[in-house]
Amino acid sequence: MGKIKSAILLTLITLIVAVLCVVCFVPFPVGGDGIHYFNPIINWADKSADLGGYQYGEEAAYLGGSYSVVFYPEGVISAKQYSDNADSDETEYIAYNGGSVYLDKEKVCGGGTEPTEEFKAAFDVQLRCLKERFGRLHSEGTVLEVRDGFTVQATLPASLDASVAAFLYYSYMGDVTVLYGTSSDAASATQIIPETGSKPKAASEYVKGASMRSNMGTAFVEVDFTDAGLEILSDATSGAAESAGYLFVQVGGETVINLSVSEQIDDNLYVSGSYTNEAATIVANTIDTALDCGDLELGMEMGELHRSEAGFAPLTFGSVSLSALDLVYIACGVAILAMAVFFLIRYGLLGFANILTYLFFLELMVLIYWAVPIAIGAGTLAAFAISSVLLCASNALSYEAARKEYAVGKTMASSVKTGYKKCFWHIFDLHIALVAIALLVYLIALTELSVFGLALTFGVALAGICSLLVNRFLWYLTMGLSKNPGKFCHFKREEVEDDD
């Protein structure tokens, strides 16, 4: 390629990389009012519970940190609730764990001073149910802790869109009931499942389970009925074609599914609507786990919802306070700068080809994190670091292979070609093996490790493509600018001893 063509193409590519860099990383004012700012893609990308987030725009949307809630079993109240109603509660409640929580004397302690065995057993069932529900979310950063013996604190990452719905639905304890009526008010509907009578059966005799399904981007909840359940449902809705009715699926007396019925139901229930995948999963989990936990008479209440900043304590230097995310950005910046300096010293102006390749890789990774989306957290950062090292190492490997060829007297074009040929299988083997490992980890593992696997799959695949295609193309372009390619790349010929 001619010098001019190379220069034009290289300028164009540099411009594209620069524009992408601004779009991905640089906030700048828009509108000239000093209020509105362009938010770079990196700000839009989700952050895990471990990293501090940003507040931006008028909506002050939060992109990091976590939400937490304390669940109180029926008969257990917080110290704040106790002090708010001190006059009326003084005789009904006793302090537990030094006044951290207050227990109902009758309901929890059976008139004594310690919780009864029945209450402890019921709380254990509630804990098992919550553990199953939050575990099934498979969400990175989910934490469940027993607090003060008889309450449960749950933490979910703020990046999970349906966090608040999860807390609310997961606090519903008790058996599953299905109600049918002609009014949209559940209170006036009649319970059809389980059948009310002299010998009531458990809901699991009528409902097999519930699960989230997704088809063509639409999420729905499938409620799977047994034959007995279907028969009752079919009988109850037999007149729905003539006059529409309303069906309610409740857990512990709280409605989780509410739908109007305009025809007889004689198959499993498929409920779609405004569900996202997360919301449908939460509803299905609530029903399914309630069936496993049986008829639990002890209810549960959700306490105050709290939002917390990053899991890592921020560092403060004088008046400047750095969040965990700031520290990550600084560390990445220093590492990239060190890489750039190393390549420029070792390979001269050829280092620019590597820097451009790396920046291109970095920007694409940020776009992938935002578009997929992959929450930026410890796992994502580890995967990003491994992919970055792999890309730079592969580039260095190809440069070194070409350097050896050039040293023995080949032309630069031939050195590049032979060098790449020699190291191609090394680079290919390493990348393909890592992609296979990462993909399997993503498919089999859950939560943090799964996110790591997904980020590594994208990172390594992109690093391989960038190393074998983008870097080679940029090398080819940069070479076209120089009359003395050896000097340009800091490559030297081997000195041959003269026999004379």
Binding site: V143, E145, V146, S308, L446
Partner: protein, 332 residues
């Protein structure tokens, strides 16, 4: 004259080292089990209404709390602010929680005393009065075991797939040596955790064993690539399997260390800086890293030498075999 590294000769030594450590680890594990870190943590929460009552006094409040803690002989490990949200609109209510975390070793009675003294101090202060509430809590973490066992299965499957790839690309002798290293690393990592009493979370041992398997395969992968390239060199054709493997492995020290030393340094520095759960992951992960270096440089090459000799012999005898009839004709 420099001494050549002959890995095959030291095979009994490496087997003995691994066997002794693994057996000792199994014995110690059966007596004491792993040293699980306490899932317990303790907190003191200071609730306040930042908007109405103590606007712009958060720093003064924090200072008072911290001074009170040091007076009462308790020291916190972490501090964070939580904002209360309205459930319906997910908007801030103006109530804040200042949460101090203490280590699980903190005495319960001391913590309760510190909390009640702090409450007294704050209530006596006209700046805060009854606008703040102080409570001490004991938290015990619950583990999601599905995530743990699936992580271990994922890493084991990934390691096996990588080994099959090694078999196809670099020969089955290398795959078998890699498998031996992989199994050894998994067991040795677990043994080191049991022997050194390194504190781990409930899922830790399984996860670190899986990580050891993957590190082991990756390092062996690099060795295999080096060997395949080196064995094409005419200088290697005159060498025995023992010498060839030894020379190739000795030559890859620099390359592997170039990757591993920065990686280990990153884990170590981040592990020292990070707190709580992350530290319990980042520092122990150095164990599988060290174990996989041992097996990829010492054990696996030693296992490979006899295997390579045998496979080389089989290959050469297969090449020489021309059939009984032809051989008799040739003799005649």
């Amino acid at each position: 004259m420099t001494k050549r590294f002959l890995p095959g000769k030291l095979l009994p030594v490496w087997i003995a080292v691994s066997a002794v450590l693994i057996v000792a680890g199994v014995v110690l594990f059966s007596i004491f089990g792993f040293h699980y870190a306490s899932p317990e943590k303790k907190t003191i929460e200071i609730g306040y209404d930042a908007v109405v009552y103590i606007e712009n006094k958060e720093d003064a409040l924090a200072e008072k709390c911290e001074a009170s803690f040091s007076q009462n002989g308790v020291s916190f490990t972490d501090k964070r602010t939580e904002r209360e949200l309205d459930v319906s609109y997910v908007s801030e209510t103006g109530n804040y929680l200042l949460v101090y975390t203490f280590s699980s070793a903190t005495d319960d009675a001391k913590l309760q005393t510190a909390a009640s003294k702090l409450a007294e101090t704050l209530q006596a202060d006209p700046e805060f009065g009854t606008a703040v509430s102080v409570t001490a809590h004991v938290m015990e973490g619950e583990h999601f075991y599905e995530a743990s066992w699936r992580a271990a299965v994922a890493l084991a499957v990934a390691a096996i797939v990588a080994l099959v790839y090694v078999g196809f690309r670099f020969g089955w002798a290398n795959a078998i040596a890699g498998l031996v290293a992989c199994v050894n690393d998994t067991l040795l990592t677990l043994s080191v955790f049991a022997l050194a009493r390194i504190p781990v979370y409930a899922y830790g041992p399984v996860l670190f064993a899986g990580i050891a398997a993957v590190f082991s395969v990756l390092l062996w992968f690099v060795q295999c690539m080096r060997m395949r390239e080196n064995f094409k060199d005419p200088a290697y054709t005159s060498l025995t399997a023992q010498e060839a493997v030894g020379l190739s492995v000795a030559g890859s020290w620099k390359l592997v260390l170039c990757f591993l030393v920065p990686l280990a340094a990153v884990f170590a520095v981040l592990g020292l800086v990070a707190s709580g759960g992350l530290r319990l992951f980042l520092l122990p992960v150095l164990v599988p890293l060290a174990v996989s270096v041992y097996s990829s440089f010492l054990l696996a090459p030693a296992v490979l030498v006899p295997l390579k000799s045998k496979f080389d012999k089989m290959r050469s005898s297969r090449k020489k075999y021309v059939g009984k009839k032809k051989a008799t004709e040739a003799q005649e």
